[in-house]
């Protein structure tokens, strides 16, 4: 498995992730905030990412779309809170097919010896919201029911890329 640590404790509507990168944090900050760079890495390869707007300032809004090979589009949007900086940034996050379920995401960039640890902390409106967002691959939170559901979905959609 990969190197991203995802923590989702039972009973609280948070998700935390941690990942180390081999680059200084101002480079990381740029990769997270420059639309030209963001579209080159954000999201799985099977989606093409298009950024509608990205107003990198306190109160600025952002919106991007992931488009798959069949032309299906999945939009996301939110608002920046506070001025994004290499220390970190805070923004809201809403997945457009499920409007009204808004998460608050905080990103922190911590540099150590030329490497950078990126930490995210997401707060959802409820544990159910959080769980719907996580759904799979959770460390520690994976229960048998979900493993069985994964098998089920695989069986139902065997040709899914």
């Amino acid at each position: 498995m990969g190197k991203t640590r995802v923590t989702a404790e039972p009973g609280v509507p948070f998700i935390e992730t941690e990942r180390e990168f081999d680059a200084p944090r101002d480079v990381l900050f740029r990769a997270f905030t420059d639309p030209e760079l963001l579209v080159q890495w954000m999201g799985p390869r099977k989606y093409v990412m298009e950024i509608d707007r990205y107003e990198l300032r306190d109160g600025g809004t952002w919106r991007y779309v992931h488009r798959d090979a069949d032309g299906n589009e999945f939009g996301f949007h939110g608002v920046f809170h506070g001025t994004p900086s290499p220390d970190g940034m805070v923004q809201t996050f809403e997945f457009e097919p499920v409007p009204g379920h808004v998460a608050l995401d905080e990103l922190r960039f911590e540099e150590r010896g030329g490497r950078t640890i990126v930490r995210t902390h997401s707060v959802y409106q409820s544990v159910a919201d959080r769980d719907a967002m996580v759904e799979s691959g959770m460390e520690g939170g994976m229960d048998e029911g979900y493993e069985r559901l994964e098998e089920l979905v695989d069986r139902l959609a065997p040709v899914r890329a």
Binding site: D26, V27, D34, W41, P86
Partner: protein
């Protein structure tokens, strides 16, 4: 699927008991007694879960003789799965792409500024343009 439909599907899937019920129904229709058996839960509690699943379109129910059988409806699950990428999978795949991008950025930066000593951690919010003169489209 409508946004509200997706919302109901994911609300329904957010519960481990309901996921267990769906997994059981994948191997065939069942009545409420059969569905209750694997869980430490009362039949009325399972019935309430079945109502949620039915409202989300994930199951249908029909009567056969005196039994009321639940049947898995595959389509909403398939549609939900179509956009559902595991959270961790999403980020790991993204971050692997970011690793690759960072290595090219580092190389380009290193060649752009020959002396690239970095004294400690620079907390200065230094925003630079993209290498190769690409313009920054954010405002």
């Amino acid at each position: 699927m409508t946004a509200q439909g997706l919302d109901e599907v994911f609300g329904a899937l957010a519960d481990p008991t309901r996921r267990g019920i769906l997994a059981r129904l994948a191997s065939g229709d069942a009545n409420v007694g059969e569905l209750t058996a694997p869980f430490r839960m009362s039949q009325p509690a399972i019935s309430r879960h079945l109502k949620v699943l039915e409202r989300a379109g994930l199951i249908s129910r029909r009567r056969r003789a005196t039994a009321r059988l639940s049947h898995l409806e595959a389509e909403p699950l398939r549609e939900a799965a179509a956009w559902l990428v595991g959270y961790r999978e999403y980020w790991e795949e993204s971050y692997e792409r970011l690793d690759a991008l960072l290595s090219t950025l580092d190389r380009r930066e290193a060649s752009a500024s020959t002396s690239r000593s970095r004294p400690g951690t620079s907390a200065k919010p230094k925003r630079k343009g993209v290498p190769d003169g690409q313009d920054q489209s954010h405002r």
